[in-house]
């Protein structure tokens, strides 16, 4: 208990109007506007990919691919929708594809790999509470892990999480409840 971590608000709460303006500018040929969008969301998208795939190299590739697809399909972006939800949806689908491919190749029920970044630095920080929480999230099954990651990124906007995962709202709430239960158990000292 007592996870007093350095408070850093999730960087996803950008005003939708500004995002719309950046999208409009990008469509008008302003490359810097898209650069601003990438700068605004790349960390959250990478986080979602890294938590879902548990592989930093694959997460990088998935993040790049997500922004590439978003850029090519930007003209089809529905005005009034949230860019964060859209880019998370694209990223999540790409992650699902990668997980499915991994499953086909390895034949595992739940194909997860250890993050190659885990080394002496990780061991040294084992007592760090953020690391404990992150490790507990990594131990969750994929469906709970993704829900809890999106809950972290999107806040308590269950409908947005349901949109990204293409799941009914009730299922999202159930998954979240169970994920939290498992996290609480894992973090109980």
């Amino acid at each position: 208990m007592g996870l007093a971590l350095a408070v850093e608000p999730p960087p996803v709460a950008a005003a939708p109007v500004e995002d719309q303006a950046l999208i409009a500018a990008t469509l008008a040929g302003n490359g810097e506007a898209f650069g601003e969008l990438v700068g605004r969301y790349q960390r959250a998208v990478y986080h979602l990919a890294a938590r879902t795939l548990r592989d930093s190299t694959e997460a990088e590739d998935a993040t790049q691919e997500a922004f590439f697809k978003a850029y090519r399909a930007l003209h089809s972006f529905r005005p009034g929708a949230k860019f964060s939800t859209w880019i998370f949806t694209i990223c999540y689908r790409l992650c699902c594809d990668r997980l499915a491919r991994r499953k086909r190749l390895s034949g595992d029920e739940l194909p997860d790999r250890a993050d190659p970044g885990a080394g002496p630095a990780l061991l040294a920080e084992r007592n760090d509470e953020a690391r404990r929480l992150r490790a507990a999230i990594d131990q969750l099954p994929e469906k709970y892990r993704t829900v809890i990651t999106l809950y972290h990124l999107q806040g308590k906007q269950y409908d947005e999480i349901a949109t990204v995962l293409n799941l009914p709202l009730g299922t999202v709430k159930t998954h979240l409840f169970r994920a939290k239960e498992q996290l609480r158990k894992a973090l109980t000292t």
Partner: protein, 119 residues
């Protein structure tokens, strides 16, 4: 001791996001806004490919017909005769016309309307 829901929410909210590699944004931009533009679009490539296939097919049909070489030679000779291209005068006038057209295209005529707007 069991952690309560609020404490878990606070811990989740405080959890720092994974840090992407420093050059990730540059790599994304290099693949998107700064990617070299393709000379032709996808549909243009399709049109060119279909047109080339049709030309190839038509050429094959012509050449595979019986006595194709003689027929093609005859047809070409008839076209040249009918259009008057076998006469030196016609060829000279045609060359003069093409040359004059080319020179007119090369001339830069000032845009009168634009000058009026500037004033």
């Amino acid at each position: 001791m069991m952690m309560d829901d609020d404490a878990l929410d606070r811990a989740l909210a405080a959890l720092p996001l994974d840090e992407p590699p420093a050059d990730l944004q540059q790599r994304i931009l290099a693949r998107t806004v700064y990617a070299p533009r393709a000379a032709l679009r996808g549909w243009e490539l399709w049109v060119i490919a279909i047109a080339a296939a049709l030309v190839g097919w038509f050429g094959w049909v012509l050449l595979s017909a019986p006595h194709a070489q003689e027929r093609i030679t005859d047809t070409l000779a008839r076209v040249i005769a009918v259009s008057g291209l076998d006469s030196m005068n016609t060829v000279l006038w045609l060359a003069a016309g093409v040359s004059a057209t080319w020179w007119i295209v090369q001339l830069s005529v000032p845009d009168r309307r634009r000058r009026i707007e500037v004033r």
